[in-house]
Amino acid sequence: MFNKTLLLLALGAFASSAFGEEMEVVGNVQSKCVVTPDTAGVYGNPTPDVLSSDPTDGGVDPIVRFDVIQASLYKARISHPTSFSESPTLNDTVVWTGDTATSQVSDTSMSGYDAAKVEFDNVTEFSLTVAGSTWFKTETQADYGYGKAFPGGVYRAVVSAECIAI
């Protein structure tokens, strides 16, 4: 009687192991890099054919802050605009120029970011090699046609900032 019982139990165990099971593993990765808009930009209109964010032209440079908790794992990619996201109808070409540089740093070593930055097209990349906060300022300027006045209206452009894992 005892042996049979054991046999039945063993059969039951084999029967159970014959079914497949899938187990889910869940992980949640919190980014160690945070991008925060710090100062909204404003275009000044020093001359009828120019829109510029330079403070000397009556504008305000947009500033974005990158906070990295761990050094040398991320790079900041900032693109200055090459088109208006909102504007009156424009019949002529717009020439875009821009530049991005550090505005403030939380560590003196971050002052080396400007010398080490990589620029291509309208993009500027900074390797965030120091943990802490870095403020990047972007200057953007739009020149319309060949000495042609911008039509009246509201003009908007977008500066994009990304934190990319290296």
């Binding site: 550090t102 505005s103 403030q104 939380s106 560590d107 003196t108 971050m110 002052s111 080396g112 403020w135």
Partner: protein
Amino acid sequence: MLVLLVCSSYSYSEEAIYGTTANAADAGYNWVMTNVLPQQLGLSVNSVIYRYTTDKIAEDDMLVHVQNENARGTGYIFRETDDWSGLEGNTINKTVPVNMIDISYWGNGSIEVEGAGSVLDPEVYYSYQYIPCEDPQSDATCPGYVDPTGAALIDDAIAQDTTSEEYIQAEIDRKANLQAQKDEEEQAEREEFAKEKEEEILESLEVLLGYVNTNLMNEESRVLHNALVATNYLPRSYFEAMVGGNYPETLVLKDGRLPDNRKGLRVGLASELKHKQLVDLQYD
């Protein structure tokens, strides 16, 4: 409900207040902390936030110290150094946590530059926290607050001043009232006592003089009175009128000096000796 209210009140009183100072470096590169931090007992500084821009040549060596002297000792209670040597000038924006350092340690602050270069537009802020009413004197609404001007104490002292005219007059009046009340009570007692005595005397006289006017007495008293008269219990003088006038002393003492009784002295002495002998017998 009561318990909840008590807990709520307690937590309110223990709630910490957080704040940030104004720019300590607004007036220059040196500042006095007593002018910067709120003078609250138990205040502690959580962090120092500073920002400045350096103007320098990249190749130059430059150190910038943002610091506070140790008010309770030597050296610095806080000193953060930024090394700009070999770096381009820039604007630094830094938050330095300082582990809840008590206000009493925070001495005068300064920004000091070593090497070539200069610091522009400095801003230094202190983030702090404290529990209100930890120092009852911090706010007049705090429990246990004592008016530093002593106005309340002076008022109390005036109210309790035993030398003031008002106090003395009040005491005099109070004592006078008590004395008057006591006098009235004593007067009433005396009058009652006198009345009782007068009644007793009158009653005695009635009994004594009952034979004159026996009609004033009741039958029982009359029978008793007649019995007393019959047995001659009352002296005869009670039935005779006493002639009034002056009764001078008639006895004259012949001897001017009364000597001690020597016989009595000897008896007393002998008695004393005998007593002593009897007492001594028990020790022999």
